[in-house]
Point group: C2
Chain length 182, copies 2
């Protein structure tokens, strides 16, 4: 769909961090007009919807600095260099929840903020969870707490805005549909 393409005239590199980088592009639109685009680059991430035999969603509670508050989210994490998304997904499930699985089903992928960032999240689902005998340790600077919620509790958390992010909102809707309570 070439007719919409915005041609980069000039790129200014602003920042290169541990997680993200930022550049500003001067672009030329197909109608000849010029504009600026502020672009955040991100390595991509995975998330897992873990549903226990008891029909509970396994979530993690953690502090999110950009929001200056604690959120309850499905387990997720960024893809390390060269890592296949399903490998990241299983690793994050084990590290963050203490469960593992032999059946991780791919659900979908989505860009989270196409207006200013290229972050993509690959979403997986498992309802064949097995409790790990030994804890697998994750990121040292990531303090988390596990919360297991029924669908009703998860919906209450959405109302109270304790659950408040796109991937987890999608997860709650997905499980609602799965359990035929739409």
């Amino acid at each position: 769909m070439k007719q919409f393409e915005e041609k980069t005239i000039h790129r200014e590199e602003i920042f290169r961090g541990n997680l993200i980088s930022l550049h500003v592009d001067d672009v030329e639109l197909p109608n000849g007009m010029r504009s600026k685009r502020e672009v955040v680059k991100h390595p991509g991430a995975v998330a897992v919807i873990p549903l226990t035999d008891e029909g509970k969603l396994v979530m993690v509670k953690q502090f999110r600095k950009p929001l200056e508050r604690t959120l309850v989210e499905i387990p997720a994490g960024k893809i390390e260099k060269g890592e296949e998304p399903h490998v990241t997904a299983l690793r994050e499930l084990e590290e963050e929840t203490g469960y593992t699985t032999k059946n991780l089903k791919y659900v979908t992928s989505f860009y989270t903020s196409p207006g200013f960032a290229d972050e993509i999240i690959h979403l997986y689902f498992s309802n064949e969870l097995v409790k790990l005998e030994e804890k697998v340790s994750g990121d040292e600077d990531e303090l988390i707490e596990i919360v297991e919620l029924t669908l009703e509790e998860a919906e209450q958390y959405v109302k109270e805005q304790k659950i408040h992010d796109a991937k987890t909102a999608y997860a709650v809707l997905y499980v609602k549909m799965l359990l035929g309570r739409g």
Copy 2:
């Protein structure tokens, strides 16, 4: 939930743009450990799920510079300073699709990328659309094309990754549930 709070020790302002700004925080974790957090600030946005009397989803096709490709998304836009989200929602619906409505229902809100950004999207729904007699013009530097899709077509677009962003993935799932085709 103070036990998770990450205290800012030092903040470095990196960038202040037209859409986003960026800073890096040195933080102290509750366990005494120190780390860095890269944070993007965004003014917030709205999105609308417009469903026609014929059961079609009204979407917009546009080029997304961060992805260097064209996506099909539900109409959306950033909240202007001092604007109420539902006002932004109606404005974006009118500007981007040529439809208006007297019944815009609030669905939910979600943070899109709580790991590195504070962007929040307020999501609305309307199935009482009225075609505007005259076109309302929107952002000059935003070239878009309207696409009306049945749920089946929308799901096909998801498979082909023409629909590929969080708010639109949520919208497709939402309409699927609404139409009882989960």
